[in-house]
Subunit: 259 residues, 2 copies
């Protein structure tokens, strides 16, 4: 953050900034476009893209001359996940649940004002981007985010609320801080939470916390389902016990593994 950090290698940061563009730009990008978006001189963008291309972190459409993410970016996910004990412990349990109840099951963690999906076992027909790992979503508009904040120190919630920039993604997206506080409080009581129509119409979410040591949530197990097949009532009856049990099972495994 501080520009005067003598150990900070600016060139590397610029390169990563280019890579990072593709998290939000879901389409190939030309050189000028990249330069503009990453706030770089055209020549800098040229050199950095060229380098990333040579290294396999970017691919290039020779016709349009646009760059798009390269397969080395996919391989980085492996490098990350292979060291993630939490996912490793959770995986078999999530698979089992997905298979038994024939639903999608997600594992996510909190990161700033967002949650990030670490694992998704896709099972139903759903939008492509909701089957992918590494997705960021606003914590306060997801069941997983709310339930994690419910089982973390209150200052975490306040911190997220303070930095939160509410956006009404659907007509039913909650944007009122007070309603968020109420829902988090309820989640703390219940041990789970259910959301509806937050980021996508017809979508319901149910989540329960994975607890680490010190009684603090470190992750959340969540299941997305869709209306009209599902309703809040049916979720409460059929899925709440599933997510809470799964989350608890993962929690046990974590503490057993001293994680």
């Amino acid at each position: 953050m501080d520009k005067k950090d003598p150990l900070f290698v600016g060139t590397l940061e610029k390169g990563m900034r280019i890579i990072d563009l593709f998290r939000t730009a879901h389409t190939p990008l030309g050189l000028s476009d990249i330069a503009r978006r990453a706030d770089l001189e055209k020549s800098a963008a040229q050199r950095l893209c060229h380098t990333l291309y040579k290294l396999g972190f970017l691919e290039r459409d020779d016709d349009t001359r646009r760059y798009r993410p390269g397969m080395r970016m996919l391989e980085m996910a492996f490098a990350y996940l292979i060291q993630d004990r939490l996912v490793e412990l959770a995986m078999p349990r999530l698979i089992e649940v997905a298979r038994t109840f024939n639903t999608t099951v997600n594992l996510s963690v909190l990161d700033g004002v967002h949650i990030v999906y670490k694992t998704r076992i896709p099972h139903a027909r759903q939008a492509y981007d909701t089957t992918l790992i590494g997705v960021r979503q606003p914590a306060l508009n997801t069941a997983a985010g709310l339930v994690m904040l419910a089982f973390r120190p209150p200052e975490d919630l306040e911190s997220v609320l303070a930095r939160w920039q509410p956006a009404a993604i659907t007509p039913h997206t909650t944007t009122d801080p007070e309603r968020i506080r109420a829902q988090v409080a309820a989640a703390r009581q219940d041990g789970y939470t259910i959301t509806s129509n937050q980021l996508m119409l017809q979508e319901l979410g149910v989540a329960a916390p994975v607890m680490g040591e010190a009684g603090v949530a470190v992750a959340a197990v969540s299941m997305p389902v869709y209306m009209p097949d599902w309703s809040v009532e049916r979720v409460r009856e059929e899925l709440v016990s599933v997510v809470t049990e799964t989350a608890r099972s993962v929690s046990y495994a974590c503490t057993a593994a001293k994680l």
Copy 2:
């Protein structure tokens, strides 16, 4: 590759080299270790790691002072996959098959002498690292790799054979080029191939090619199963039609989408 490339940004390459270390080092690494493995001066490693850490591409265990992959590395997978039409088209079909036949289903592509898994729908109990995307495996020791090479120009196979460094990962791993040639030829006849005990004992693999335009394989659908539940015969009877049908279905979707 050429050191005299005037557009090549060495600093960026060094940074990416550090990130890349974690693809093979499946454990946290200290600074000196990183410097050694990436062939960097200690001070360079220090600066680059510091930068990657600040950016969230590395995390740090404050006790051991070791670095490990950061969550931004996971998010890069999303950036990659969100632009991958092939995976997008294949995903619902793979999910469907996994659900119906209650098995794991993988989609992989060829990259040099390796295959890389782009999607895995995990379904059975299996080793953690075989559930992760972005994994690299030697093409000639996987059903997917063999079947892709069977439906590509012969020079591709020769090229891979030439660069191949056979390693007997299990006692039954094929290391004889002639046997590989024979198996690829058979795969071309049959439209599928079955492997056994190649990279893991008790493991069987069956794969069929996803064809792009020009009648060339662009990917492969594969299913791993395990003895003694499964045998080559049972795979032939029950799974061959599944993988070939799935692969064909994905192929159709690809050509329909002009991919």
